[in-house]
Symmetry: D2
Subunit: 340 residues, 4 copies
């Protein structure tokens, strides 16, 4: 039984574990002030091409989202997210638990654009409503789609004009930036965004996300927020060592490219089989629409998520590939698909 | 330069890393529902001798304290802690950030007793004050002292009579239970406490604390709290594998015993040198009171925390040993001490 | 320029002010423990026909909603409301500010039914989402509609079966219960609801809402919540005296009946003029759909709220009447309407 | 049985009720945007001598404190207060409920000075502790003492140098500014403080406090905070009308002067009787230390608060006078005292 359920079913890429082994008995400072974390910050700044950014390492996506958003907003300010946004439906109200409403925008492709934001602003004119202040986007989105450079530029421009913060959830940023359709790079993100995170957990790390804060006014005292919300690991080295290894060379993007390639093989086979998709994904999550009978057959040999009922005979499922997905698992899935 | 600054200066015990290596590429469910975490829960239940308890794995002490306390209390209820309590002075107001006041009780030895609690209850008679509801204790305490079975029994009785929850921070529980002066075991804790955690981070794990909830009414929906506060790791296996290894045999207590033995060697040497201590510690944190000149000399070869000014010529420092402290580091420190 | 903008444009009914005058220099206990508040509680219990309920007096609707809901819910639990619900769009995220998500349900008439709730429960199956726990309804609704006894009974049954709390915002409860179409009374509310409030501010009081808690488990320590959220007035007598006067005889319902009668006159005239309504209201808020040109003409002599664009030529407005609306204002508005 | 328990035992000064009567049936805008509130703001600005301040009317002291402090602070920032501070012991953890710790400073006279603040800053050096940011003082204090101009100036200077906000709880500001020992006026407060409130509830109003925000950076969006925390009364006129009446002429200070004069008579009689005081109060709260037997005798005819046990035979009580205290009540109390 092979699982395409998610991209965090395995441990870490072996190079990560080796890096932990090698450094294991060396003493280091606690709480992220160790030499590994500092080096990892420097390496990331170089990759992003900016020295005037702050970098913090956290343990997971929900944690990063809730700490960043609650640190950035005043109590009456709200976030805006696509209805598919992870913070809206899959984080147990973590943002609301910090006191902030998340305003939901109905979209079909997981992405926000300026006209969505304009409508939200129009609906929130005064102090009887929350004040929309932070725009939450994800790249790749929860539907596997990605933002183009032009789309991000327009969003950024609108946000600047309207004094909105633009924040990107990069849980699957590796896959997005490694997509064949992508025209963004890390330096663009620092240009267009006020903050974003580079996801490690879903791209080869045991755990870890690197939060990048670009806007000066959002940087102050951020470590207080980390500590207060329980995110400052005593052995912060654990996160630093992993990001150092992921970005020592091209490992981070190599892992994501592999995941994308595996998804691409699945996508092509499904297309050739005459089947369609719920979204236009070029990343490591795809959402094929299959006959329910085929889904039942595939379930015998593979695990994956049921996503959405389409009609009485068809449903969308989600297939997720990762750095760890063996090509044989993909081939055998395709064989099974074609033999139905 | 050897560091006695804390017990989280190294990575993990090598057996922990090996366990991560061996399981690394096996697929497992996410969010703590994997087989490793389930096994670790079963092993811990056996060790504690109780099947009617719930166990959850979290990443750190501050995170565990804030999630447990905020899940257990209603909005107007408060925690009571010794003024030395970690939640009062070293967690950036994490409990208050969830809406709950922490009532501070002045103590000299880090420990609470029923008369302290009685005084707090008397001072909080009605709805113009918060309602004291949860008693936070730590074992070993922040001053290295430990609770005896009799002390814990009396606290527990008072709490039950006054409808207070009794919660123990076990960041250094291994060291406490391995102390030569200790007469408590894990099953006693489940008898006397409503909840407690077994600290992994400071006793050989990369990260990880095992929260044990004993009182039925506090168990319901706890995983919602974990997710909402960003504590549910996608690769929850990381925590389960480590606790499984720590409690597969006696590793957890062996590591703590080593730390205690190293502290004991230091303590004896310091005593023989005619020097005293700030607290009566039998665990892995000791607080010798030294002449300032001696402290300056020791600083040349060792790092450790300055703790408290005693008089114009003397100060207390904190020396912390761990599972990883080599006996040679201790010997050479003692030599240095005696040669001054 | 007469205002139909809302039902809180004037001060208080003269009998209320007289009651304040008469009691003014008598000393009384603070914080709602005065004799007037106690008497008012007794009078309300008699009216409701129940002795096993708790009554608290608060200053306004948003305050009452946020304190009740945050006192009733655990941190991971959420409220469910119709998309028209006051807590969703007109209270500046007050519920979210206490940490709780409000789940929005699209409706056309302002009312929730069991099938709405069933769908919400289905969408929130596990700990990755908030746990729906409290159902917020209003009577009359924000669209002027009311619940029938049968509708409320069905909602109540569903909530009991699914362990949901049922809470009613009664900002305009007087108008609802005085509607010609109403078949509910105060004792029904105590039977079907876990808590509700009887609105004073919008029905003749200077300020004040009477919160009624029917479910035993929600009563404990509620005064702590009042104090903690700043709702316990030092001169709590101010609220008690007003409710005592409103319910000394039939004043509360007489005032609401007058408001309804004035709305009814407007409604009939608008219907006779061949114009329709956005909602089927039998209470003191009506939402006629008018040609934009007519709206512009009416604006010259009356103030009221623009509600919603219907098409390029028509819009819905809101007209609100109150205990203080003079029949002449209504007549002259009708004349103006018919003369266009 | 006459009550010296507090200064909110009666309703409002008759002129206040008359003002409510006169304006009662005039229509006005809701939520504090009415003409009365606007006029009252203008009148207060003139009195304070500043146009660049913002004024908001709220319902009570706890409400004002919690909304101001939570609006001014970021999540990791804390307030500092004297241990006698109302926010520490008499507001049910209202500040902590908004997420902020209150750091307590032991004092004997209810007042803070720069050396207190210096010590707090020294104890909070980094992100493992909360960041002290707002200094809460009250004038008059909870012990009836007052700040001199020089004391306030020094505090203000220290706060500016250390980027701390200085906030004054003015629940009994009228009494403080009317004290014979006072050398501060309203314009000084706007010079030295970042924000403060002028208490109405305890000086003749039915309810109401006027919050004055002096620092520009604290003004933005404050009405959102009012609405979100349930403090924006639909009939905001109720507050505006009262403050307009209190400051139309010298009523506010006349009422406070009367209260002080009544306290002064009590103080002198008690002093002449050879008895002492817990604090050096020149305002409307005094804290005589009396033999327990005398206290028991006085209790037969008067109600007042027991404050503190002094020794086995003596206790401090609190006597509070107000605008409404009749001189005969004071005389008869003195007679009773002298006849023991």
């Amino acid at each position: 039984m092979y699982s395409f359920t998610n991209d965090y079913s395995e441990g870490a890429h072996p190079r990560i574990l080796n890096a932990l082994m090698e450094s294991n008995l060396k003493q280091a400072d606690g709480y992220g002030e160790d030499r590994y974390s500092r080096q990892a910050m420097e390496v990331l700044k170089k990759r992003i091409g900016r020295n005037d950014i702050d970098i913090h390492f956290l343990s997971g996506g929900t944690q990063t989202n809730l700490i960043a958003i609650s640190a950035f907003l005043r109590p009456h300010e709200a976030a805006i997210a696509a209805n598919t946004g992870h913070i809206l439906g899959h984080e147990t109200g973590a943002i609301e638990a910090t006191g902030h409403k998340v305003i939901s925008v109905e979209v079909s492709d997981g992405k926000l654009n300026p006209s969505h934001l304009q409508a939200v602003l129009k609906d929130h004119p005064d102090e009887h409503m929350v004040k929309p202040k932070l725009v939450y986007i994800s790249d790749s989105t929860e539907l596997g789609t990605i933002y183009s450079k032009s789309e991000l530029e327009h969003l950024s421009k609108f946000c600047k004009e309207n004094k909105l913060f633009l924040y990107m959830d990069g849980a699957r940023l590796g896959s997005a930036l490694s997509s064949r359709e992508n025209d963004l790079d890390l330096s663009d993100l620092a240009t267009y965004l006020d903050a974003f995170y580079i996801g490690g957990t879903k791209n080869g790390a045991l755990l870890g996300e690197a939060l990048v804060i670009c806007r000066d006014s959002l940087k102050e005292d951020f470590r207080y927020s980390l500590k207060q919300k329980g995110a400052l690991l005593a052995k912060g080295r654990l996160l630093g060592i992993q990001f150092l290894e992921l970005f020592r060379d091209n490992l981070y993007f190599d892992l994501a490219s592999h995941a994308n390639k595996m998804a691409s093989l699945l996508r092509e086979a499904i297309t050739q089989a005459g089947l369609g998709f719920l979204s236009d994904s070029s990343t490591n999550q795809i959402f094929p629409i299959l006959p329910n009978s085929l889904i039942a057959d595939l379930k015998a040999g593979y695990s994956f998520s049921f996503w959405k009922k389409i009609d009485s005979d068809h449903s969308a499922i989600r297939l997720v590939t990762s750095w760890a997905t063996p090509e044989e698992a993909v081939s055998s899935f395709i064989t099974k698909l074609n033999n139905q």
